[in-house]
Symmetry: D2
Subunit: 339 residues, 4 copies
């Protein structure tokens, strides 16, 4: 069943990411408007709602989800709050776009997965926005075409110019590397079976408490070997690259060589400075795809299974960091519901 009027969206969490989604829904995306904003910070949420016609402020997610003008929910609160918000959304049978991570660990993700199955139909799209990036989708289309044969290896680079202090080795896995975990699973259509984290002698620019960079190897159940460089204080910019090496060719994205300048003895261009710049279009397309699917009465995109699998791989990654060596990933059997 298609919804004709614009989709009324409740945005839960009005921090940096949530506020950006509010702007996106109201000013960029077609067919949706923000009718509710929710935050534990009553003052902040009121300020956001005041700037938007027909938008109500809430401090309680459940109250927002019960409102008549709320058709769907976008969860952008901190990870530990996701499970409760998801279960409440299930009670109201509302479609959800849930920012990554789905939940902070595999056990809680498993509970959400079971709850969604009890509901009897998919309701959740998880916010792995790289699946909506123009370059990644070109790469996916090429790999799926079979033109290059089976993918044997996938080389990844994930670089940030710098990272706020307080970021830990566990954050490196759970908040950065998690993207390559999802990209690997999505591009290859395979599950990750082991994680090995190697730690070079850290850069002198690495902050206290973070071993930076790290080099990670995944093995998959399809026999692919995947490597990821994660370098969070590389100094020169935000750069995400991937090269798939296949039986009959290789394909690379992420060079971002659009404007080429010759000046002062150098040719080249500038490097994006953060993910907001690099993935702006991906976020726009992700939310548009969610709005479009929801209005058609469908659920598409990364599922709760994908959120759960990422959480399980993250747990193995953190264990490899602390214990060293290769750690096998443990996954429950994939329910038919998510096939």
């Amino acid at each position: 069943m298609t919804q004709h009027g614009p989709l009324g969206v409740a945005v839960i969490g009005t921090g940096k990411m949530g506020a950006d989604h509010v702007r996106r829904i109201n000013e960029v995306v077609s067919g949706a408007r923000v009718t509710a904003v929710v935050d534990v910070d009553a003052e902040r949420v009121k300020a956001v709602a005041d700037g938007i016609e027909g938008c109500t402020a809430y401090t309680d997610p459940a109250a927002a989800m019960a409102a008549a003008d709320v058709d769907a929910v976008l969860i952008a609160s901190p990870g530990p709050a996701h499970e409760a918000a998801l279960l409440t959304a299930f009670e109201h049978d509302l479609p959800v776009l849930c920012e990554k991570p789905l939940t902070p660990d595999a056990a809680s993700a498993l509970r959400v997965m079971e709850a969604e199955q009890r509901l009897g139909h998919r309701r959740v799209q998880v916010g792995f926005m790289r699946r909506y990036d123009a370059e990644y989708t070109k790469l996916k289309t090429l790999l799926d075409s079979g033109e290059l044969g089976r993918t044997l290896m996938l080389h990844n680079r994930h670089r940030n110019a710098s990272i706020p202090s307080g970021f830990t080795n566990a954050n490196l896995v759970n908040d950065s590397l998690v993207h390559e975990m999802d990209v690997t699973r999505w591009l290859l259509g395979q599950e990750i079976t082991s994680v090995t984290v190697l730690r070079p002698r850290p850069s002198s620019h690495a902050p206290e408490g973070l071993d930076d960079p790290q080099f990670v190897v995944f093995e998959t159940d399809g026999g692919a070997v995947v490597d990821v460089e994660v370098f969070l204080n590389c100094g020169f910019g935000y750069q995400v690259q991937a090269e798939a090496v296949c039986e009959r060719g290789s394909a690379r994205i992420g060079d971002a060589h659009d404007l080429l300048v010759n000046t002062a003895g150098r040719w080249g261009g500038t490097i994006a400075q953060d993910f907001v710049e690099r993935f702006a279009d991906a976020y726009d397309r992700e939310v548009q795809a969610w709005v479009d699917a929801t209005r058609r009465g469908e659920v598409t995109g990364p599922s709760v299974w994908d959120g759960y699998a990422a959480a399980a791989v993250c747990e193995a990654g953190v264990r490899s960091q602390s214990e060293g060596g290769r750690v096998e990933v443990e996954l429950v059997d994939r329910p038919a519901f998510y096939r």
Copy 2:
């Protein structure tokens, strides 16, 4: 004054370009919806309107513009119909996005310019969509920053894989080269003062009646020299490139090297096959910018003066094609209204 509800747009002309704008307004752009469609083909226009909730079909532009749910007009009919549609829009004081060309010649463009001045405020944005392309805007920003000094030369390539039969030398100027005329004026902030069209011995793939490729030189009132290769049957794809050569550096766009593939003895990637693919984002941004400005009660983007100047340069270009040699461009003085 800001309009709060979505902007009701009448789209005049439901051919290829018009139909694409209808889709864009309804499915991509935020804050607007199509409330009227107009076409001389009564059957076609009815079919379009039937697929859109709250949209009425018209065969008379004036009737559409008089409707209560029409806040703004997008003109995508053939060029010869533009003048009448624009003057009618002025009668209703409606904001207009007018596809290029503004009108088919400088004299008619001048009449539109005078009519808009009588209205007392700008109402028209002309559809030079390259000004909204991400790469061109990066180039413009760089040039405007002054970092590279004054622009001395601008090298342009404008290539189509192939062109429908019936395309004439005059079409090459009025429909293809016109984009570089506008790009030159916009990037440099200068008027074009002469046009020289050179015709190499045509490609064996050039269709009857078209000298293809052609090589064009513009001179500007700021002393810049601009060259344009126009090659409409280049065979390999749609490719638009520009390099600005400045006092302290040069900057190039249009290489479009995003996905790089190694296969079968070659490295490289694919080339876009048409302008829809190459400039999809530019069209989206152009219409979004028009909707946003209109809802704020403003007019931005290329003006009727820009449409007139392009028409005047086109006339010189066609004359250089037929008479040979360098032809000077004749422009009326720029009214203060358009400064």
Copy 3:
């Protein structure tokens, strides 16, 4: 007849270029050694000869050419001295590699051409070293293969970081643009029939007495249109680029993107700072090819006809600079001797 021992070479002129050729023959090239050096500066030439075993210093070219250990002559003296040196070499029937320009004008080049024809066999290779550059030869091979069809246009860029003071508009044609004149004739296998020189408003970095940059258009007897940007104080480096646009594709050289660096917010690399760096390999290959051909008793590479044609096109170029507009090139009929 093949010469078995190393070729004994007299190098005439021991300025920057001559000294570099002395080094090249002795330290880089196989099968040759410098047995004589000639310069009007007796002290300088003695210093050069003293560093080389078995090498004699001369101030008179004729004396050097009469020496028993001189098998061949490399002329690297200033252009006005070339005619006399060439005619003397013809008297001794010695093979010559003559640095460009062959002679300073078309009339003197014509006299050399007639003298060589009287000799009855080719003796001279003219020093257009770009024909030995790896990228230009790849481009030539591709064009000659016919894979891309006939060449319709050729776009060229010729940029120097800066140029010594005293360089005039005539130098720009005779010393810089002359390379693209030869490249055009060689790549296309066509004669240039007209030259048009356009002068943008000069860069603020242009020295007194030089209009810099200039933009030049050649037309050829095969109907090709060729454009050349010559920018001698571009500030950022030495950059020579060419793009051939053909019936079924285009091919570009000169990007020089070998080492790619990400640093400080930028991706890219460095630009060569002068022609010695950019064309080092071309000079090496040019001299090796001359030595190899000479030892085999052959004459290959650019001929006196090529030197004469370049001089004639240069004269047209200088006239277009001073008189403005399009100037036709006047060439004598090509002698069968040079076909």
Copy 4:
């Protein structure tokens, strides 16, 4: 002491590699000539010698090395013959350029190392020609400059279009991967301390008996992590790439994007088809450097220590292939002689 006449070289082994070196010394390199060729195949070696003035054929390396016109030795025989040839050269105190591998295993390399030390001065340059490649040397210069800070990671790709049948997993390490072992040690100035070989599920194009591709991780005594993709039947060409990731930037070589072609819907270029094409210049420069140093009475370039270290790392690599997991490299202490 500098040798004034050309260096007389004995080339041992006249197979593909040896024959190419004979051509190189006689036709490309300055200051040397082949005075002796040696091969167990008497007929083949005679045929080679017959084509060269003043060159004698031998079947016994010792006889060649005893000849009065032999000043230096280039060993291009199969690996198992190297140790004996090197020891004979030491007896005659002759300078040697020894093709890689120095010897087939660490134990024999150690014996050569001890013999050279007994001689009291270095005599051997090992044929790791990548150290003479223009791109690798640019990368080395950049890393050594300190501009980018310490190198933290090095990513390598080593791809062949296809490999002759009979190539084994051990060959993959000893003949292909050995280059990255040397490159790693040379670029970083560090020793490799462990090797881990991972084997993705092989390509369907992998020949019987070879797991292709393989993915290898080195750790170094400076704390760097190095990864190498070795893919010997990648199908599309010969491609060697390296990216050094440093504290303040990264630098990449090997894209080989010199001639860029647009044709048939694709932009890009061709990929070299073998190492002879890719590293032709490196071989030329390697032999020229050896000849120049030898004539100056010096020994430069990769030493016997480098040959030994490569052999020791290879042994660890082969063990990781067969036993799985991470294998530590065992090296003797580095003698002061080789520091």
